[in-house]
Amino acid sequence: MAYEITLLTAMGISVIFALSLNLITGFCGQISLGHAAFYGIGAYCAAMITKSGLPFPLALAAGTLLAGVIGTVVGIASLRVRHDFLAITTMGVGFLFLGIVRQQDFLGGEMGLSGIPGSGLSKAGFMLLVLVIAAAAAAFSLYLKRSWMGYVFDSIADDEDTARMLGIDVSRYKLSAFAMGTALAGLAGGLYAHNIRFIDPDSFGFVESITVLAMVVVGGIGSVWGVVLAAAVLSVLPLWLQFISDYKLLLYGALLFCVMRFSSNGLAGMVTALAKRAGGRP
């Protein structure tokens, strides 16, 4: 039972993290190759706070807030860049985060932070907390997608110049997406730090950014159910099967390539296409 709890907890955290990127990349169409930085900011911030003896809920809230604030600042700085340039810029942000953390002794430098206090909950209790937050994040995503904000995000992802011609303040909407997405990543990071109870810079490197992007793309950009499913499966596969863990990057790279080449709408797109074909038959 303990093993299942570990798996489900890791899965839930990945789902929250993937849904956070889905708000930015999936809904608003803004690619990010450095999303793990905000996961890391939330993790480091929360860990520092519980290590200083303050309560766990406060740590989670602070990690969420700090990641959201830094995410907004990064968003303001990247408002003028688009597409490929945004990809490079966000990748730079990811490396900048690693570079800074590695040099800070109070953050443990290369060695990372160990001995992070527990959440105070039992293993099963922590798993429940994670799953409840994951469900709430999914419910919020589903709501957002159907709200007018989701409608505007669709238009910005499609053609932001035309969105401006319809009176839409594109910058404010993009910043909203950045703020919500990076804050949620920070929350996932705080949960991660108190689940593993050890973090180091490598936990939030480029590989993590690509992994979470693979979850969003494989699930189907913008599809909440697709992303939840892809995040759940892709996060437990390496834990289940050692050889997948060894070839993780290779597998994710191949998946990204195949989805982009053969079904650019991901799993969700495949299901829609199959349903259409089935429905079209007499």
């Binding site: 709200s147 007018w148 499609d158 011609m165 009176g167 839409i168």
Partner: protein
């Protein structure tokens, strides 16, 4: 009477090239004004100075007496400009009616927080369907824009601009690329909109339609005001004819060649 839109002394330079120099005109409420000029005269730059895509180095644009020269595009739209662009740009991920519904929801999209708190779309959708009927493409409301011919997409641009409830509609070459029949029909739609009280600026190359429907013309040439006034009088102006036919095309030379 204050002009609805007033453009004064607008100068726009791109590097060493002067696209507009001290150009301007006024638009009275309820007018249907044609903005003309040969290729490169500065019509599109004038349009972009009004919409805010280009910021002029000098000059002022006012809407209902309020200066809008320094405002970004989306704020100008919120003050009453509706724009239909020369090159059609529908949202290709949405159906035709969804394109118009988004514009019709301009009150709900004013700020992200308001937008997050609202879900119902039925009223805006109904309004969008009315507009599609008005511009004559209600039968393709549920279609994907990618599957439609240019004539319908041009009408979609107009419907989407109308959905913003504009005080002033700017149409940048709405008839370009349409055949004679389609152009005539869309021109009739534009007249009907104007008769319903909407002020319109029409930038157009299709001279016969412009002369048929516009009440007043402003002609630009080489970035400057060349002529303005009642359509027939403007077209009879020798300076306008020279600009359109080219200064080389003098009758004397033709006779000499013959």
């Amino acid at each position: 009477m204050t002009a609805l839109l007033s453009v004064k002394g607008v100068t726009v330079r791109f590097g060493g090239v002067t696209a507009l120099e001290d150009a301007g005109f006024d638009l009275q409420p309820g007018e249907l004004l044609g903005l003309l000029g040969p290729n490169g005269a500065g019509k599109t730059t004038m349009m972009r100075s009004i919409t805010g895509v280009v910021t002029p180095q000098a000059g002022e644009v006012t809407l209902e007496g309020h200066p809008i020269t320094r405002l970004p595009t989306h704020q100008r739209v919120r003050r009453g400009l509706g724009l239909s662009q020369q090159i059609v740009r529908p949202f290709r991920s949405m159906s035709v009616v969804d394109n118009v519904t988004l514009a019709a929801g301009h009150a709900k999209t004013a700020s992200p927080l308001t937008a997050l708190g609202r879900r119902l779309r039925s009223a805006e959708r109904e309004r969008a369907l009315e507009l599609l009927l008005q511009v004559g493409i209600s039968e393709v409301a549920e279609s994907e824009p990618s599957s439609l011919p240019l004539g319908m997409l041009k009408r979609l641009e107009v419907a989407r601009a109308l959905a913003l409830d504009p005080k002033l509609l700017l149409l940048d070459e709405p008839l370009a690329g349409l055949n004679h029949l389609e152009a005539g029909r869309l021109a009739d739609t534009i007249v009907a909109l104007n008769e319903s009280g909407l002020s319109i600026i029409l930038i157009e190359h299709n001279l016969s339609e412009v002369l048929r429907i516009c009440q007043r013309l402003v002609v630009l040439d080489n970035g400057r005001n060349l002529a303005a006034g009642e359509p027939r009088a403007v077209m009879d102006d020798p300076a306008v004819q020279a600009a359109y036919l080219g200064s080389g095309a003098k009758p004397d030379e033709e006779r000499a060649d013959a």
